[in-house]
Subunit: 406 residues, 2 copies
């Protein structure tokens, strides 16, 4: 028993290193998952790799190449630790399973199996058929968390949806006249920039665009990283704008920024044509969505929009930066996974704008329940991470530390 303990520890350490490498792809791999790989021989790392950008080489292949870059003879008989099941199909690149077999790898330890039900297990089978020992599940939770968006798209056919908000102590996002600069601290705003840089797409509504005329782009300098420490994204998240009332035109800033914009209009929208025309200058696409009618009028079918973002544009992670209307609709329809709130030590009063427009409830039994996952100090603010209560699972709740130190 005691003799095996140090080995188990090292297994986790090598996988932790692979996860660390995978995280370097946080800002770049979309729509691909973040993957890291480590090759080990005689308890020594002989090669490392991580996926950097869709279309580029995969982590396993880069790790194998890294062996010769380091001037070592070969990856033969080494042990590969990889955060995601190696692929078995031809995409932009040849299957990684084949590359591992060709390199003569002895054993492969995998954190998580490919979440795509159609391909899941095929990479493992290919490796095992070639006589390679395969172990799965080491640091599985960490690997899944790193790719929660990819898992969501593969298993639920919709993105992982994070509603981001900055609010005052009394739950207000702006003064009654719309002024909201700056509720949250510089440190909080920098974190939001980093989240923007990670996600595949940002969702907003026509009200926010009309009111603030924002750009919603990532500016590498605003991330606060030393350029040498992390690969800074050249990629811009896709900007998705819901315009159910056809109030926008292509002249707003958001449509003129580098990267793609998707304008979501109700089917039969008259304004669709002008956006299609604007494609010539800017990368704008139009998504025509069905509408749903309720007491407060016609609304674009948000469930449809999320599904389209996943299937047509491969959006893994979606950040919502919107007003109380769109944020409230997502909450009311349970189309969210996380709410990230930056709470500022300020009081705006009852006339300030609220967070979520929701129907009028008559009993407490009707209200929407969520759960706190983490609380953290950010500058003078507090950041609350909240989960939809239906994504709750007892294991996760147990293992999380609700409140973490500064």
């Amino acid at each position: 028993m005691s003799a095996t303990k140090p080995l188990i520890l090292q297994d986790s350490q090598f996988m932790a290193r692979a996860l660390e490498l995978a995280k370097r792809g946080l800002f770049g791999t979309s729509p691909n998952p973040r993957v890291g790989a480590v090759l080990v021989k005689n308890n020594q790392i002989i090669g490392e790799g991580w996926h950097q950008r869709a279309g580029d080489k995969h982590a396993e292949v880069l790790a194998i190449e890294d062996v010769s870059v380091r001037g070592l003879a070969s990856a033969e008989n080494s042990h590969c630790y990889v955060t995601l099941e190696p692929c078995a199909h031809f995409g932009h690149t040849a299957p990684c399973a084949d590359a591992l077999i060709k390199a003569g790898i002895r054993k492969v330890t995998i954190a998580m199996v490919d979440p795509n039900p159609k391909v899941s297990g095929k990479g493992i089978k290919k490796l095992e058929d070639a006589g390679i020992e395969v172990v799965t599940g080491l640091l599985k939770q960490e690997a899944e968390k790193l790719n929660q968006g990819f898992v969501s798209r593969m298993t639920r056919q919709r993105p992982w949806v994070v509603i981001k908000l900055a609010m005052s102590l009394d739950g207000r996002t702006a003064l009654s006249n719309g002024v909201s600069q700056w509720i949250s601290s510089p440190e909080s705003r920098q974190e939001v920039q980093r989240l923007r840089a990670q996600v595949c797409a940002i969702l907003t509504g026509s009200g926010t665009v009309q009111g603030d005329d924002p750009r919603m782009t990532v500016r590498a300098d605003d991330l606060g990283y030393a350029h040498s420490l992390i690969s800074i994204p050249t990629r811009q998240p896709v900007r998705v704008i819901i315009d159910g009332q056809q109030r926008l035109n292509a002249d707003f800033q958001i449509f003129k920024q580098p990267g793609k914009s998707i304008i979501v209009l109700p089917r039969g929208a008259k304004t669709a044509a002008q956006f299609v025309k604007a494609v010539a200058q800017h990368d704008i696409e139009v998504l025509l969505a069905p509408t749903i009618s309720d007491a407060s009028g016609d609304h674009v079918d948000l469930d449809f929009v999320l599904q389209q973002l996943a299937s047509k544009w491969q959006v893994n992670e979606l950040m919502v930066e919107a007003g109380a209307g769109l944020s409230g609709a997502l909450i009311a329809q349970n189309l969210f996974d996380e709410i990230q709130i930056y709470m500022a030590p300020k009081v705006l009063g009852h006339k300030g704008k609220g967070l979520f427009n929701l129907p009028e409830f008559e009993q407490m039994a009707e209200i929407i329940n969520v759960r706190f996952q983490q609380v953290r100090a950010v500058g003078r603010d507090i950041k609350l991470t909240i989960k939809a209560s239906d994504t709750s699972n007892s294991n996760e709740t147990k293992e999380n530390t609700l409140v973490s130190g500064v």
Copy 2:
């Protein structure tokens, strides 16, 4: 140097023990401060005492008596650790300074000097004049925190004001129809009961009384303490009800509970007479207050009310359990020291009732700034402790851990 170190450590330990004893008076000493005392001889505790109730013996005298209770010979030549400067004046009891002198105490270490400018230092002088060595300031901050209400009354002539609120994630205290049971968790409600039991008085408004007809009493069984572990209060906090619009009568529950109620009415109020009449059955007092006029009408002068509560009723600590009107007025007029918010993982929506009624702000520069002092998990809720930003002091901010573990 190194030889003195263990002694310094023990000094703090004895004072920490005295503070622990003082805390046993949390629910009982009002309007007196909480005080604990320890007598030490040859590095052994030979007597302990704490003040339990106004009118009863003081901590120092009880500690001296405790020596013989333990069957020990005498307190002579012992070292007394006491959390507050011993008194030098005759009140309900004889001066403690005299008792210490008479007992032949060799040295007295005091955490904090009496905050009352008129008597401060007189106890120390009396001891020193009798040839006793006096040291002050050991664990001063802890002692001051334990008696922050008493310090406030002595130095600012107003109580320490804590605004207590339960709110949803989106800053709502109730549904639009007034329903608010139960936003916060059972654990949070138990904490509020404990806070109620500690404070000298609870402040509320006529809106809350009319809407909920609450009792606002302490029920020992709701505190969740084992009866043997702590002295359970028989004392009820004074209930203070602001009724600027003269909407109340003596039939509401709050006026019929054990303990005192104070109804605050505008000067010349026609309803005052009926409350005076009700005094026969219940302990009700009437405070007639001047009014202040602003754009939204006439309001009772809250600053005057707080001063009267301190001077006439010796209120050290005041907890505010009120609606958005009264809470907002206290915030707007900067008549508060702390806000304690129990935040529930629930979303009530924009139609729910807000926390603070405040004037309409046009610029962010006009809003009210506060600061987070602590965040803590309570059951499924989060408790935020917030300080008025003008009570900020750099020492305190540095020494506090903003976010503490569960």
